[in-house]
C-alpha cells in the first residue's frame, strides 16, 4: 500500500478541524429549542389568520375555530423540556476521534488501494506490448495470486500470438476464480484458437459454465450460439442469438455482428 505524505496531511487537517470544534463548539445560544420554534411558527400562523379575516378571505366563525385550533395545537406541542447540557472533556474525545479516524481511513484505503501504480512516464509514452508483458510477468512473480493481472497477461499474450502462454496464464487465473464470465470466454477463445477455431472439448465446457453462471449475458449468448452452430445445432444457435439481440439495445455496437451471424445461419437452415 502507498502511504504518502499527502494522506498524512489530509488526516491531520481533518482531525485538527474536528478538534477545533470540540474545543470551541458551535454556540448553543445561537440555536433554538423546539418550544421556541413552535411558539414562533404558531404566532406567525395566527398573524396570517388575522390578516385573512381583515381582508375578508375567511368567515368570522371559521376564524374563531381556526384560532382555537392554533392554540390547542401549540398546547400539545409545547414540552417545556429545559434540558441541562452536560459538559465534556474535549481532549479524550479529540484523541479518540484522531485514533479511530486514522486507523479506519488507512485500514480501508489499504483494502482498496492499487498494489502498483503506473509511473508518470507511462502515461505520456505508450508501452509496447512486449514491455507490458514483461512488466506484468514481473508483477505476477511478486503477486502470484492476482487474478486480474493473470487475466490481463493472458489477453496480452494472445494479442501477440502466444496462444500457449496465453492458455497458461488463463489456466492460472481460472484456478483462482472460475466464476468470472469474461475469463471463461477469453480462456475458451484461446483454446479454440489453439485448435483451429474449433469450440469443442474444454472450450465448449468453459462456455457452458459461463452460460450456467449468466444466461442473460450478451457475450455468453453469442459464444453459446457459435458452439451450437459448430455442433450443427442451427435452431439452438438461432435461439441464443435471437435472445442476445433481444437483450441488446438497438444501437449496441455489436448488434451487426450477431445479426450477420444470425442471417448466415438462417440462410443455411432454409437451404
Amino acid at each position: 500500500m502507498i502511504i504518502a505524505w499527502q494522506f498524512i496531511i489530509m488526516i491531520a487537517l481533518t482531525c485538527s478541524f474536528f478538534a477545533w470544534f470540540l474545543f470551541r463548539p458551535i454556540s448553543q445560544s445561537q440555536s433554538l429549542s423546539g418550544d421556541e420554534s413552535n411558539i414562533a411558527i404558531n404566532q406567525q400562523r395566527q398573524d396570517e389568520l388575522k390578516s385573512d379575516i381583515n381582508q375578508g378571505l375567511i368567515a368570522d366563525d371559521q376564524y374563531q375555530v381556526a384560532e382555537s385550533e392554533i392554540i390547542s395545537t401549540l398546547a400539545t406541542e409545547l414540552r417545556l423540556d429545559q434540558k441541562e447540557s452536560i459538559a465534556i472533556k474535549p481532549l479524550p474525545w479529540t484523541l479518540t476521534i484522531i485514533l479511530i479516524f486514522s486507523v479506519l481511513s488507512l485500514g480501508i484505503y489499504s483494502q482498496l488501494a492499487p498494489k502498483m501504480i503506473s509511473s508518470e512516464n507511462s502515461l505520456t509514452e505508450p508501452m509496447s506490448m512486449s514491455d507490458s508483458i514483461e512488466r506484468l510477468q514481473s508483477y505476477i512473480k511478486e503477486n502470484p495470486g492476482d487474478f486480474q493481472a493473470l487475466k490481463m497477461l493472458g489477453l496480452a499474450q494472445i494479442g501477440i500470438g502466444n496462444v500457449n502462454q496465453s492458455i497458461e496464464a488463463f489456466e492460472s487465473a481460472y484456478l483462482i476464480n472460475s466464476k468470472d464470465i469474461d475469463l471463461l470466454l477469453q480462456y475458451a477463445s484461446a483454446i479454440a484458437a489453439s485448435q483451429d477455431g474449433q469450440f469443442d472439448g474444454k472450450s465448449k465446457v468453459l462456455i457452458d459454465e459461463a452460460l450456467s453462471l449468466d444466461p442473460q449475458s450478451i457475450q455468453v449468448l453469442y459464444f453459446s450460439g457459435i458452439v451450437a452452430a459448430h455442433e450443427g445445432n442451427l435452431s439452438g444457435a438461432i435461439e441464443f442469438w435471437e435472445k442476445a439481440l433481444y437483450l441488446m439495445s438497438t444501437n449496441h455496437p455489436d448488434r451487426n455482428i450477431i445479426e450477420e451471424a444470425l442471417g448466415t445461419v438462417l440462410n443455411l437452415q432454409v437451404k
Partner: protein, 635 residues
Amino acid sequence: MLIEVGHFALVLALVISLVLIVVPSVGLYQNKDSLAQLAKPLVWAQGFWITVAFFVLMTAFLTNDFSVKYVAENSNTQLPVLYKASAVWGSHEGSLLLWVFVLSQWTVAVSFFSKRIPSDLINLTLIVLGAISLGFLLFLLFTSNPFERLLIPPPEGSELNPLLQDFGLAVHPPMLYMGYVGLAIPFAFVLSALIRGQLDSTWIRWTRPWVLVSWSFLTIGITLGSWWAYYELGWGGWWFWDPVENASFMPWLVATALIHSLSVSEKRRAFKQWTVLLAIGGFSLSLLGTFLVRSGVLTSVHAFATDPTRGLFILIFLFIVIGGSLVLYTWRSSLLQQSNPFSLLSRETGLLINNILLVTAMLSVLLGTLYPLILDSLNLGKISVGAPYFKAVFVPIMIPGVIALAVFPYVRWKKDSLFRVFNLLKFEWICVVLLTFLSWVFITDNFFVLVSVGLFIWVVIHVLVLFIKRLRSKAKLSMSFIGMVVAHLGIAVFVLGATVTTQLGIEKDIKMNIGETQTIAGYDFVFNGVSPHSKENYSGFIGDISVFKNTNKVAQLNPEKRYYQTGMPMTEASIDPSITRDLYVALGEGLGGEAWSVRIYYKPLVRWIWLGGLMIALGALFAAIDRRYFLRIKS
C-alpha cells in the same frame, strides 16, 4: 498521485460519515451539546473531501489519465473538452460519485440554512443524511470505485457513448440528481421527527421549502431529459415511457403529492400520516430508480450496469431504508393520529383527492414498469409494456386532477358550500364553454385537442380570476400564492402542448432526391443534397434542406448522420424552433444514387411542453422563497 489523493478523499468521507452517525448521536442521547453540535463541522468536512474527489476525477478526464480504468473506458484524447468534463458522470461509477457529491452539497446546504430550525432536529437530520451517505459511499468504494487503476494504461481511451456526446449530458443528469437526491432531505426530516417523537409544526414548516426546491430541480431535470431525447434521438418524441424515465417520474408524482400534503399539514394540521408516508415513499422511489438503472435488470439507453452484485447491494440498502422507515412509522403512528376535522366540500378534500390521484397514477406507472421484470424473473415470458398501456391508464387518472386544480384553490379551508363555490365560478364556466365552442368552430374538431383546450382555458381563466381577486382584496401577494399560480399555469401549458403536438403533429418518412419537394402542413421542404462532413471525434454526412412557406424561405435545415469511432451511427436532427411549431428533419440512410431517406416532422406547440415544465419548476422555486420560511425567531 493526484488520483490517489481523490481516492483517499473518498475514504475520508466514508470514515467521516461513520463518525457523523456515532459521535453526534452520543451527544444527543447523553445531552452533551458539544458532541451533538459536531454534526455540522463533520458535514462540512465530508462535503469538502467529496468535492475534492469529484474534481480529482474530473481532472483525470481533462488530462487524459488513462491509468484510471473509468477514464480509459469513457474518454479519449479526441473528445471535446465539454464532453470530457461531463463524461465524469457518463457511466455508472462517475454518476454514482455525482450522486454522492450532490448529496453532500445538499447536506451542507441544510447545515447552513438551519438557523431557524431547532438544533436537536437539525443535528438529527444531519445524522440521518450521514447514514444515507454512508450507504452510498460504501456502495461507491466497494462495488463501483471510479478511481480503480489499470496496471498497464492504454495509450488511448475508449469512446464515450455517442448518444452522450451532447450538451444534454452536461445539464440533464446534474439537475435530475439534484432532484432525486434532494428528496433525501424531507426523508431525513421525517425520520428525525419520528425518532424524536415530535411531529409538530416545526418539522412540517421547515421540511416544505426543501421539498419545493428538490421537486423544482427534479422537474427541471425531467424537462431537460425530455428536450434532450427530442432533439437527440432523431424521431421527434418527447416522452418514451422508458422504464428509466418512469423511474424518475414516479418520485416526481409522489413529491408533487407531498408538496400538497405538506401544505395541508402546515396550515391545518391534517394529513400528517399522508405527509410522512409520502416523504418516505418519495425517497424510496428515488432509490428504486437507482436500483433499476444500476442492477442490470433493465436494458435501456439509461441503464448503466449489468452487475448483479451492485443490484444486490442497492436492493439490501432499499430494504433497510424502506423497512426501517416503516418500522419507525408504525412505532410512532399514535402521534400521527391527531387531526383537525374538515367537511366533504373543503380545500382539504380537494388536496386529498389530489394525493389519491397522484399516488394512483404513480402506482399505475410502477405496475407498468415492474410487471415485465417480475414476469421475466419468474420465467413467465417476456412482455413489453409501452406507451399504449401508459396512455390508456395514466391519462384518465390525471384528467380529474387537472380539473380539480382549477376548482379547489377557490374552496375554503375546513368547510365551504356548493352554492358559494358555484356562484363564484359560474361566469368562468360560461367563458370556458364559450371559448371551447369557438375553438371547435374556428380551430379544430379533434376531440382530444378540444378537451385539452377546454382544460387549458379552464385553468388559465380560473387562475387569472383568482389572481385578480387577490389583488382587488388588497391582500399581500405571497410568494407561495404566486408560485402556486405559476405552477398551475405551467400544468395547463404542458397539457395543451402535449395534447396538440400528439394529436395534430405530422410525420413523414420519405425518400427524397436532389431538388425534390415535400409539402407538410403548408411548408415546402426542398432537398438540396447531402455532403461529407467531419469533426475531431466523428465523421459523416450533412444534409441540406430549405423550407419555404408561400414561396418565402423560412428555414435552412442541416440534419446529420454521424459515425463515431465505434462505428455507431448517430442521427442528429435539425430543427427550426418557434413557440407555435417546430419543423424537424432527420436524415435516414442513403438509398443509392443521390436519394436519401428523410424523416420530416411538423410539431405544433411542442415547445409548450418544456415551457410548461419550466413554469412548474419556477412556481416551486417562488413558493420556496415565501417569507414565512425566513421567519426571524429570537431565542
